[in-house]
Symmetry: C2
């Protein structure tokens, strides 16, 4: 318990250091902020070294530097890789902030700043937990690796290829993704599942050039109408996706998992009110949480072609493109689903247009068995620190880097963050609830100790 004691004694210093981190406006979306990206990375490396890790920034080709630290002097013990990101969203609109986004300000129990909760506060909490174990106990009972990227908020475009070139360095037994939030205040939440993603473009081509809809309408194909026909043909009237064998490998959540979701403090009616809708139009027979976490979807994300501005232009475009993406769930495979999608699109495409299908992104879904050691250790830590069992959830989104670790490298991963749903991620007045910052540190401390047992 000396580590927990250390963590508790140093809380104020931890907050001061976090404030220093938050003052660096490491906005990854703004090219002219590259200097701050580099500064944030260097600052983190110094932090990691100061607490006793071997740390360095590693260049990412065409991207932002990766911060990597490790301490692997516990032979025979498991290796846990902690992952987070040091980049932040743009702070705009600035006028909506009560205090400046890069001048961290405490009001009550909350620390306000861009990145406070997403994700600097969370990744820094992990570092402080490692420090607490090292300083409190003099040693780490496990091997730790810390990987902090600088382009999560722009979709990590350069990170996946980078991962492939650093397979050995990243070898570990489990992965802890330090990003995200509790399901609700007071409900520590371990996320063990993610949906996968198949993101496609369907390109329909009609005549060789854009045409005047008066001069040629009725005689030439309209790629936009054709795309509408294709899209409408991908679902039936009840919202069921009509791609053959689309659902055949869908594995329903276990009765235990479903029962656990039923216990979550989630009010479907409140969700609908928040969304401003009267009914959820999804598949019959599934609750809203299951629809979002464990059912596959098909959504159009945008249609490009013709006149996309204000007012009336009478054009029949030569070509139009629909961005159609699918969220997939265990045990669907992105490659299999993409091929089935492509076949279906070709089958239902009106003969007058030429259709091309492209795959823009694909990642497999993630599902971690709750008997995995990392889940067990995290759960034990939660029980001690929070005085209750964790909630187990999934998320409906897709994180390619997690899919890589879990599905390619077969490394079990959990997502465990200590933010709150109303922390204002990506919004003005982002904040981190400091009691959660401290409890998060304690939880990671206890997790490290548990994992070493």
């Amino acid at each position: 318990m000396r580590a927990i004691g250390y963590a508790r004694e140093n809380r104020e210093r931890f907050v001061s250091e976090l404030e220093e981190f938050l003052r660096i406006p490491s906005v990854s979306a703004l090219p002219d902020h590259r200097v701050h990206i580099d500064r944030a990375a260097d600052w983190l490396v110094e932090q990691l070294r100061a607490i006793g890790l071997n740390a360095e920034t590693l260049p990412v080709e065409g991207g932002h530097p990766m911060v990597y630290g490790e301490r692997t002097d516990a032979p025979g013990r498991p290796t846990v890789l902690f992952y987070g990101h040091y980049d932040v969203q743009p702070a705009e609109p600035l006028e909506a902030w009560t205090s400046p986004p890069f001048e961290p300000t405490r009001r009550g129990d909350d620390l306000y700043a861009r990145g406070a909760s997403d994700d600097k506060g969370q990744v820094f909490g992990v570092i402080k937990a490692i420090e607490s174990v090292l300083r409190g106990s003099g040693r780490l009972p496990i091997n730790v690796k810390v990987l902090v990227e600088g382009e999560e908020e722009i979709g990590s475009p350069a990170v996946l290829p980078w991962l492939n070139r650093h397979t050995r360095k990243l070898a570990c037994d489990s992965m802890w993704v330090s990003d995200g939030m509790l399901f609700a205040p007071g409900v520590p939440t371990i996320t063990t599942g993610l949906r996968g993603l198949v993101y496609t473009e369907v390109v329909a081509t009609g005549a060789v050039r854009d045409a005047h809809s008066g001069m040629h309408g009725g005689a030439i194909p309209n790629p936009l109408n054709a795309l509408a026909t294709i899209i409408a043909g991908l679902k039936d009237r009840r919202g069921h996706i009509t791609i053959p064998r689309f659902y055949s490998s869908v594995q329903p959540p276990s009765p235990q998992e479903r029962a656990a979701w039923d216990q979550l403090p989630f009010d479907e009616r409140q969700y609908l009110r928040d969304q401003g809708i009267e009914t959820s139009p999804g598949e019959e027979g599934f609750g809203v949480l299951e629809r979002r976490w464990a059912r596959p979807t098909l959504d159009v994300n945008g249609i490009v072609g013709g006149w996309m501005s204000v007012g009336a232009k009478t054009v029949i475009p030569a070509q139009a493109t629909a961005k159609v993406s699918m969220r997939i769930v265990p045990n669907q495979k992105a490659k299999v689903i993409y091929r089935a999608f492509e076949r279906k699109v070709r089958n239902i495409a009106p003969p007058a247009v030429r259709v091309e299908v492209r795959e823009l992104a694909g990642s497999d879904p993630v599902l971690i068995d709750q008997s995995s050691p990392i889940v067990q250790s995290a759960s034990a830590a939660v029980c001690e620190v929070w005085g209750r069992d964790p909630a187990y959830t999934r998320e409906g989104g897709s994180i390619p880097i997690v899919s890589k670790f879990v599905n390619v490298w077969k490394i079990p991963a959990i997502l465990f963050g200590f933010g709150l749903p109303d922390d204002g991620h990506h919004a003005p007045n982002e904040r981190f609830h400091l009691p959660n910052f401290f409890k998060g540190i304690d939880t990671v401390v206890r997790f490290i100790e548990e994992a070493g047992n």
Copy 2:
């Protein structure tokens, strides 16, 4: 025949004067060219006065000045209003021009300049024809009005409201639209029909804000998918529009009109080759010309919403808008069709989205009886000047100003131009075939004489 003699003796001067007109870069789309717009209008007024008409520029609120001239000293005789436009398309790309667009250049029988054929050469030919009759015969056998607008190339946004305020000034017995082209070289072509237009926006709204397709996909409605369902539901598999009673007032072309179209030098296979398509996807049982001229259509012109740029963004938009337009034919009515469209859209809209339908533009189709005096006089003039009967065609586009004259004011109108299909309207190296300029003047001269009989 003294008028024809005058016209023929003065051909070289007419071309010189036209060249002067063409040197004024009256591009209506470029705000900084307003000075040239005004100069072109003033130049035309001087021309009209010089040949003996009362002429003036009339301000158009929020638009470009209208040139108006008249000579109405033939009491008891019909009044013909000639319409055209003095504004031109932008000349870009300039590097594609062999000679500068605003330095008229003769090569062989062609005069090259922006606006040579569309529409300065044509409207100027009418003025020179009036001059020829006045100077050759000393008097006009009919009353003439000349209306030349300055914003046709940007869609005449301010002209329609202006028309409503000048109903009495524009009173006439028939309208001659001096714009357009022969169906083919050597085929003088009187256009007696236009399709109408109903241009709508269908706005579908789902949740209150754009959502992450991972976090919420499966539980909230997607307005883009809903629009696809609506659009797909507006036509059946054979391309037939499914709006109830949509076709009920469609009046097929007469057997004579169809027979005349069959005689036109039109090669369907060549048309398909030009469009780069293998088959025309339109309604079965109708030829390509009939599909373009006399059948109603429904085309999507653009879909706004979600991610309309390059790459993958996983958004479910809160709202999306489809621009859906219909070309309508005699005797469909824009207002009736719009209401039927709106009802149909509401009926087939998925219940999970809210749908709003807006009418952006509407104009009724135009069809002039071939027994109208203006058609008869024009036809007689063609026979004399061209040594053959005119071809009668329709156009698939919609001209709101013509619809106004014909449908609201009940004034029969014809479109009769002397350009050629390869004159390069709106393209680099626009030209006017001078033998057609001369023959056009002769045709208008003979028309005025015929109309006065």
